[in-house]
């Protein structure tokens, strides 16, 4: 049996560092939001020859188009602007073709109006709260004990903070956007986090029932030793799948897969190294009183 709980200060410091960096990034840089939530137009063109970013920006300024972002990747031009109507989009393409002297193929054009995006944001927030509520209700049923549910909940919040923080870094450095897919990844991570914790807690409870209320720390260590292989193996299979998606999947879901990947790692980490130490601490405090 390995005494995992001996190193709880180290686990705490690791979590503190990761979450600290993330929170710093959130407050310093924040996020870029997708047009689903703030409204706007995304355009993507395929050009026949190489185009300079400066030139595209100049044209947009000349046309008085309020753009937020222009990027060129090989011969693909991506432009992000305030909402444009159909006519303006048609016009813009003609002007770009003329001024850049290259025929362009419109490969993507998305517009979301401001009222719709505000509504999307509201609905997404409601969905998140409902999902969290669902998880909480389920947890209180599954654990039947407040301390178990609280420990699992705190581990879930830990994972949430890790994801939110690291996504803010992606947002700042790679312009990843907060979109509906990101929200989906966050919710999936939260459910996965609880899923993993349940397996360990089940084991701890089983030992306590079999051998009576002895030393919780001893049983927690025993449970961790028993479940560690399964936790790591289970996460490995998910991580294989997600790594394949991150490196080989298309660009549209790259950040989505990456978020899920980080979620899986932190979800796996938090169950033995965050939830369990907290549970042991809570139970010991309860027994002292």
């Amino acid at each position: 049996m390995v005494n995992f709980l001996k190193y709880k200060v180290i686990y705490f410091l690791i979590s503190l560092t990761v979450i600290g960096i993330g929170l710093f990034s959130i407050f310093k840089w924040g996020y870029y939001y997708s047009i689903d939530f703030v409204g706007g137009t995304n355009l993507e063109y395929q050009a026949k020859k190489n185009i300079s970013q400066e030139k595209v920006k100049k044209i947009l300024i000349k046309e008085k188009i309020d753009f937020k972002y222009v990027s060129i990747n090989q011969k693909t031009i991506s432009i992000k602007t305030k909402p444009l109507d159909e006519k303006k989009i048609d016009q813009l393409k003609k002007i770009l073709e003329k001024d850049l002297d290259s025929s362009l193929t419109l490969i993507k054009s998305e517009t979301v109006g401001p009222t719709l995006s505000a509504e999307n944001l509201k609905k997404t927030v409601i969905a998140c709260f409902l999902a969290i509520l669902g998880i909480l209700v389920y947890m209180s049923f599954a654990f039947k004990s407040f301390n178990y549910a609280l420990a699992a909940f705190l581990a879930m919040i830990h994972d949430l903070l890790v994801i939110l923080g690291s996504y803010s870094l992606f947002s700042h450095f790679f312009r990843a956007e907060v979109d509906t897919l990101f929200i989906t990844a966050v919710l999936t991570t939260m459910s996965f986090s609880v899923h993993d914790t349940i397996v360990i807690f089940d084991k701890i409870r089983e030992y306590l029932q079999e051998e009576g209320q002895k030393d919780i720390e001893y049983f927690a260590n025993k449970a961790l030793t028993e479940t560690m292989v399964r936790s790591i193996n289970n996460s490995m299979t998910i991580i294989f799948m997600l790594l394949a998606l991150v490196f080989l999947g298309g660009s549209t879901i790259r950040f989505f897969a990456l978020t899920l990947l980080i979620g899986t790692i932190t979800g796996t980490y938090s169950s033995p190294f965050v939830a369990t130490p907290i549970l042991v601490w809570l139970e010991k405090r309860k027994n002292k009183n």
Binding site: E86, I107, K108, A127, T180, T184, S191, I198, G250, L260
Partner: protein
């Protein structure tokens, strides 16, 4: 009984394989001087059973983001509609839009009305359509046809000095409702395209009256606020026909005829969202994701076999069955596969072996205690079930809320998130079955347990 079970199992497996067959795959080879050349297609049911017509094609339905196409959302202006007429007006608007969309020859258009926080919207999905601006123009047209005549002027001087379109302001009783059919024709003399109108009986009578009282004067034909033409009436026209001339191209005249034929939208609509994805982008993303899925699957199988040996191989077999079964379910429902949906499915493959790992670790634990394989097998399955059940309920709960099955308006109704939730949910449920039931049978079979 035992034989019966085996035969049933084989039949079910064959059915699943049949459903999963690739679409339009041409097989062409030579064997023993016999040329073999045929096209493989998945199961298709088209027939009658007990007087019930059944038609079902088992093929993969790809979402707009994978197939390419346009997603449009229009918001209806309901301010001028009475509350009790609202439902009817929206449904008829939906039907009219459907008629207009059919003109584009879209294979599977999806037109839905959505109610959200007091706002009414109509979403239109046009797979494969990339000429989105002309689609928006045609769909969004109110297409309210009206005929206007000259307002009686007080004195002659004023009448001749005002421009013609300012004089033609008096509405007549004749509107688009009185038109039976509009069609593209060509002028006999000039060969220019024009739109011929055929009135209903009532419309014909009204038109005759209008032309009778306006001989020598112009009568204007308006579509929405736009003047189409204002011909001067030569004589009273009976027989219920009229033509709209103007500087139309053939295409414009055709679209005008469609707009008139489909009828006027009962309420004005405004475009609030449009997403247009080119077909090449989608196709390359599908290829990449499938490639990623196959590599990932291979890694998972490799890992399972290396770590768990024979048991791992059995779990991998169950995993393959899981893949085939999920695909069959996707095709049977049918689930519209979007890119996030594909990601959800790929993720669920990773999660599917979880129940096997739980069971195997449990079995190893029992084996370490010195129990026989058979006892460890039974205990492993018995004890792991609780943890498996508990652990998967949270995932299913989240998938349920994200999928929003009752279409509650306070929850997101976007296709992307729903696609992910649906495939993840189906994936987890199916994996519970294959990971527990199928694996158990397979172990019994391969280890010759009773």
């Amino acid at each position: 009984m035992r034989h019966f079970k085996i035969i049933l199992l084989i039949l079910i497996s064959l059915l699943i394989i049949w459903i999963d067959l690739p679409e339009n795959l041409r097989v062409n080879f030579k064997v023993l001087n016999q040329k073999i050349d045929f096209i493989i297609n998945p199961l298709k049911i088209d027939g009658e059973i007990f007087g019930l017509k059944i038609k079902k094609e088992f093929k993969t339905h790809l979402g707009l983001d994978l197939k390419g196409g346009s997603h449009l959302v229009f918001e209806a202006d309901t301010t001028k509609i009475k509350k009790e007429d609202l439902e009817d007006a929206l449904n008829s608007a939906r039907d009219i839009i459907e008629k207009r969309v059919n003109f584009f020859g879209v294979s599977e258009p999806q037109i839905q009305t959505l109610k959200s926080q007091g706002k009414y919207r109509i979403s239109v999905d046009l797979p494969g359509i990339t000429d989105v601006s002309s689609a928006i123009k045609l769909i969004g047209q109110t297409a309210q046809l009206s005929f206007k005549e000259e307002t009686p002027a007080k004195d002659q001087k004023e009448a001749t000095q005002t421009p013609i379109f300012l004089r033609l302001t008096k509405d007549t009783e004749l509107t688009g409702k009185h038109i039976k059919k509009a069609q593209l024709t060509f002028d006999n003399q000039t060969g220019k395209p024009q739109v011929a109108l055929i009135f209903t009986d009532e419309g014909g009578k009204l038109f005759a009256k209008i032309t009778e009282r306006n001989v020598g004067k112009p009568v204007a034909i308006y579509l929405d606020q736009f003047l189409l033409s204002a011909p001067v009436v030569q004589q009273k026209i009976e027989g219920g026909n009229a033509v709209i001339t103007g500087n139309f191209t053939v295409d414009e005249a055709k679209k005008l005829a469609i707009a008139i034929n489909s009828g006027a939208l009962p309420l004005p609509i405004k475009l609030v969202e449009q997403k247009n994805i080119g077909p090449t982008l989608g196709a390359s993303e599908v290829r990449k994701s499938l490639y990623a899925g196959v590599i990932g699957l291979f890694l998972v199988i490799l890992f399972m076999v290396l770590y768990y040996g024979k048991l791992g191989a059995i779990a991998s077999l169950a995993l393959l069955i899981y893949g085939a079964l999920s695909l069959a379910i996707f095709r049977a429902i049918p689930v519209v596969l979007t890119l996030p949906g594909l990601a959800g499915f790929i993720l669920s493959i990773g999660m599917a072996v979880d129940s096997n790992i739980l069971i195997f670790e449990r079995m190893k634990e029992e084996l370490r205690k010195g129990k026989s394989f058979e006892v460890a097998f039974n205990l492993g399955f018995g004890r792991a079930i609780d943890a498996i059940k508990d652990a998967n309920i949270t995932t299913l709960t989240v998938a349920f809320i994200l999928f929003n099955p009752l279409n509650w308006e306070f929850l997101p109704q976007f296709g992307m998130v729903r696609g992910f939730a649906l495939t993840l949910g189906i994936g987890v449920a199916t994996s519970l079955f294959t990971g527990v039931v199928i694996t158990k049978r397979l172990i019994k079979f391969f280890y010759k347990l009773r």
